[in-house]
Every structure is written in C-alpha cells, then in structure tokens.
C-alpha cells in the first residue's frame, strides 16, 4: 500500500512525520506532568510508527505508472476499516454510559470512568470517529467516480485520514484524563483544534483540486453536499474554538466568548454540526449510493438542488432554538424557531426524493438488506426532521428541553438516519472497493439490519416515554402551588426506561460487531470477482505511460 506512493511522496511523508515526531517530543517535554505531556507522547508514538512504516519502503522502486489509470482507493479502504473500529469503540462506550444511568455502580468509583468523562468519549467516538471516517472514506470514492478523475495526489488523502484519526485519538484520550473546554461536541482543547484545522484545510484543498480535474461537465449533487460539509465544518470549527491557552505548556484554554454570546456561538456551532456534519455529508452518501444500489436514477434531480440550497441556508439560522427561555433575546429565539420549522420543507424534499426513487423497486428493498438500510435511513431522516421542527417550537421545547426526549430525538437521527445510511453505503461500496462479487455473507447483513432496527426502535421508544414522563413530572404542581414530585422521584420513575435504552443500544452494538466481522471476512476470505464488470474498474490502456515518475 505504501509502495504505491512515489519516491517523492514517500520523502514528503517522511518529512511531515519527522516534523510531527519533533512536535510530539516538544509537547511531551514542555507539558511534563500536565495532560499535554501525555498527549505529546501520543503524538510522538503515533508519528513514529507511521514514520517507521514509510522508511521501511523509502528506497523501494517507483510504483507502476499504470496506477494513474485507476482510481486511488487505498485511503478509502483504510478509512472504512477505521470506521468500523470506531463504531465498536464509540457504541461500546455508549452502551456503557447508558448502563451507568441504570446502574450507577458501573462507574467503578474511578475518575476516568465517570459519566462526565465517558459521555464525550461516546459522542466523539461515534460522531467524529465513526461518522467522520465514513464521510472521508466515502467522499473520496464518490468524488472520484462522479468526476471520473483520480484523486489529485496520493499523499494528501493519507494526511487527511491519519491526521483526522490522530485528532480523534487526542480528543477521546483527553476526555478520559479530564481535559475538556466544556463545549458540547467540541470538547477537545486548543492544540487538537489547531491540528484539526490543518487537516481539514488539506481535505478541502484536495477535494477542490480533484474536482478541478473532473471530466464530467456538471458537478453531481452528492459532491455539493460533501463540499458543503467540508467547508461549513471548517468555518464552524474555527469560529467556535477561538480560545486563549493559559500557557503553551498546558492543555487548558479559555474561550474568547463569554455569557450569552458564548452560548449562542456554541449552539450556532452545535446545531450546524448536526446540519453539516451529520446531515449534509450523509445526504451526499444518500444521493450517490441510493441510485447506485437501486440501479435507478434519483427521482428528481431538480428537487435535490432545491433541497440542497434550502438546507444550506435555513440551517444556519436554526441554532438558537437550543436556547429557548434563556437570556438570549426573545426575537433571536423566535428566529431560530421559525427557521427550524421552515427546515421541514427541504428535509422532506430529500426524504421524499429518496423514497420516490425507490418507488418501482420495492422488490429490491424486500430482497436486499443493504438497500433496506438506505430505505430505513430515509424514513428516519423524514421522521427525525419532522420531530426536530416540532421540538424547536418554544412551548413544545418547554416540555421537552433538558429531558430524555431530546436524547431520543438525537438517537433517532444518529442511529436511524446517520448509522443506517452509513451501513447501507458501506455494504454497497465494500465489494466494489475490494473487487468482490458481494459481501461475504448476505445473511449477516440481514442479521445486522434487524439488530440495528430493533435496537433503534427500543432505544427511541424508551426515551420518548421517559422524556415525556420526566417533562410532565417536572411541571406538575400540587394544590399549594409547589412541585408535586421531588427530583429523586423522577429519577426512580425513569429507571425501567434506562434499562430498556441500554438494551436497545446493546442490540445496535451487536449489529455493528456482526457488520465488522462480515467486513473482515469479505476482505480476507472472499475470492476476487473476475467478471467483466470488475474488469471495467480497470485503467484505460495507453496514453497514461507518458506521465513521468514522481508526478
């Protein structure tokens, strides 16, 4: 795999890694006993291992020029494997934290395993580890196929994949040690944030450079979504994380924002992270893998463009619905509420477009669990966006906010939409990338589908029940005008739902483990597809030889 790099690319990779080894050493030396020192050691070891791998082949012969007549899929393959590893880690921690709420003794009285530290490890593991790697891996695949162009170079995709995973490792390991800047979904500290900016800009530049090489005159809509995802996440990340470190030798920093401005910036970030990380990028997957798997063009291409611009422009204003009944000016809350309701239009346009595409192919949905993953994802996308618009209405939010209803809503989206579309896309792309006829076992895909669906439904129904119960108990008054229930009574009332939720999560995790086993067996033990169709994924002969080595 590394031998595919030209000698020039190998040298550049080695130079970058040597620089990172030095940075890691400097962080370790300067940070000393501070948690920054531990992170320095992690950066040092991570880059040293990669440097060793690169140096072991640095004097090997140049790769064949014929590689340029093939798509460059190695980074996508590595990204997919990492996706499944993060899925098991992130969902595993999720089941653990869910179980802690039902049985608090599962924190084992240690600081690192307390709820407050495990919870961001779960959210970062699933959103950034699982979701982010899936987005990066599939974006490279979709971008090349829809542009009919090979990635612009071979080094920057690796920089993106390994750099991004270094960020995820720093973030998650930091939470266990107690590092946080107390911003939800942006808990990682300043040095990790700066590193992510470097990685993300490289990602964006690679995307643009590859698009610039495209053969297709029109940029297919999936790429619009992927590009919005990359561009807007960069903007959100930079603005929300502007902070001043206490010192360059310590992990702690303070945000430049304070008070209600801080809250507004945080939820402008937080909600748009939902919009552009967890929605736009995954809609990119939907608009490519759904037509491919169903072998039918998207129902309405025009509608997909209208929903694209609707989502991009409406979501930006919706964040303030997280701050109803706070010190935020009332009109800003109303603005957020209004835009959240309007968002239903482009969201249902996408969900409807997906289902209308399947109309006429329902027999395929019945027979093919992969396509069924994508179909269920579209349904949950429609349901969750409806629920989201509804929950954003101020009086409804008065009942739902701070309760488990919010948790149920988030997981309807994260499990039912994000994870389902990811698994559907991965099962479509894995045989394609590894040149196999099909997954190792269609039956295991079926098992995964039903485990995931049962898990999601149990989870979401448990949280709906517990959330509404909780909200109602909090606002019940007795005759003398005081609260009818103590806080502890509400906690006791929710206990059975917490057990149900942990069980639902466990089913979902089991599905992911089955999927990972299936991936492993497909890569390792399924024979390569030798038919015409796989041969079609090969190079155009001739003309390519003229490209000089080191290009």
């Amino acid at each position: 795999m590394i031998r595919q790099l030209t000698s020039g690319e190998r040298r550049s990779a080695a130079t970058i890694l040597v620089a990172l080894v030095i940075v890691g050493l400097a962080m370790a030396a300067a940070g000393r006993a501070d948690t920054l020192g531990v992170h320095g050691a992690i950066v040092f070891l991570y880059s040293l291992v990669l440097l060793f791998l690169v140096l072991s082949v640095i004097f090997d012969p140049e790769p064949e020029p014929s590689r340029l007549s093939q798509y460059y899929d190695d980074p996508s393959k590595v990204g997919i494997v990492l996706t499944m590893i993060w899925a098991i880690f992130g969902m595993g921690v999720g089941v653990w934290v869910a179980a802690q709420l039902a049985w608090p003794e599962l924190a084992f009285d240690a600081a690192w395993s307390s709820f407050g530290r495990l919870r961001p490890a779960h959210t970062t593991g699933v959103i950034f580890g699982f979701g982010g790697n899936a987005l990066i891996a599939t974006s490279f695949h979709v971008l090349q196929r829809t542009s009919r162009a090979r990635l612009a170079d071979q080094l920057s995709p690796w920089f993106v994949v390994f750099g991004y995973n270094l960020f995820c490792i720093l973030a998650v390991s930091g939470y266990f040690m107690g590092i946080t800047q107390s911003k939800e979904y942006a808990e990682a500290e300043w040095y990790a944030d700066i590193w992510l900016v470097v990685v993300w800009v490289t990602y964006f530049v690679l995307f643009i450079r590859t698009l610039a090489r495209r053969k297709e005159p029109h940029i297919y809509v999936a790429n619009w979504y992927y590009m919005a995802f990359i561009l807007v996440v960069a903007v959100l990340h930079i603005v929300n994380n502007i902070a001043v470190p206490v010192s360059l030798t310590g992990a702690k920093s303070y945000s430049i924002y304070s008070g209600v401005q801080d809250a507004m910036v945080q939820w402008w970030y937080g909600h748009n992270a939902v919009a552009f990380f967890l929605t736009a990028g995954f809609l990119g997957m939907l608009y490519y893998y759904l037509p491919k798997r169903a072998e039918r063009p998207i129902f309405s291409y025009r509608l997909s463009i209208i929903s694209f611009w609707g989502i991009t422009f409406f979501y930006m204003w919706a964040g303030s619905h997280h701050l109803h009944y706070t010190a935020l000016p009332h009109w800003v809350q109303t603005l957020g509420m209004t835009f959240s309701v309007m968002l239903l239009v482009p969201s249902w346009a996408s969900a409807g477009n997906a289902l209308a595409t399947l109309n006429g192919a329902w027999h395929k949905v019945r027979d093919d669990a992969t396509l069924r993953f994508i179909m269920v994802a579209s349904v949950f996308y429609g349901l969750t966006t409806f629920e989201g618009s509804f929950l954003a209405i101020r009086p409804v939010n008065g009942l739902s906010h701070y309760t488990d209803w919010t948790v149920g809503h988030v997981h309807a989206g994260a499990l039912g939409w994000v994870a389902f579309i990811t698994f559907g896309s991965l099962y479509s792309v894995i045989p394609w990338l590894w040149k196999k006829k099909a997954m190792y076992s269609a039956r295991l895909v079926e098992v995964h589908f039903w485990l995931a669906l049962m898990g999601t439904i149990i989870y979401v129904f448990a949280m709906w029940n517990s959330g509404i119960l909780q909200g109602l108990m909090w606002r019940t008054y007795n005759d003398s005008g005081t609260l009818a229930f103590s806080f502890l009574e509400t906690v006791i009332a929710m206990h059975p739902y917490y057990i149900a939720r942990a069980f639902g999560g466990l089913l979902f995790l089991a599905g992911a483990i089955v999927g990972t086993y299936n991936l492993y067996m497909t890569i390792r033990y399924t024979p390569e597809d030798a038919t015409e169709k796989a041969a079609g994924d090969l190079p155009v002969p001739g003309r390519g030889e003229a490209v000089a080595a080191g290009e």
Binding site: S69, Y71, R148, K215, Y220, I298, W309, L538
Partner: protein, 58 residues
C-alpha cells in the same frame, strides 16, 4: 446615526428576509431554466453508467 441593538434588529428583520427571498428566486430560476434540463438529466443518469468506470487520463 448611532448603530445600536435596535438598528441591527431592524436590519436583520428587513434585509435578512429580502436577501433570502431573492436567493430562493435565483435558485428556482436556475433549477427550472429550460436550458439546464438536459444537463440535469445527464447528471442524474451518468452516475449509473457502469461501462466506463475508470478515471480519465491526460
């Protein structure tokens, strides 16, 4: 004129509305412009064309 909170609110409530409506019109015109029909049709079908699944080369 002093720029205070109310000035910004008035600006956001009026021009914020106008630019979004203007933008929506631009998008709708682009989407339904008759000349673009063929381009969109090609785009939606071309991704299903499996025969030529390889990158172009210089």
């Amino acid at each position: 004129m002093e720029v205070d909170h109310n000035t910004l609110v008035a600006f956001a409530k009026s021009w914020g509305l106008f630019y979004l409506i203007a933008f929506a019109i631009v998008v709708l015109v682009y989407v339904f412009w008759p000349k673009n029909r063929k381009k969109f049709d090609d785009a939606k079908k071309s991704i299903l064309d499996d025969k030529d699944d390889k990158p172009w080369q210089q």
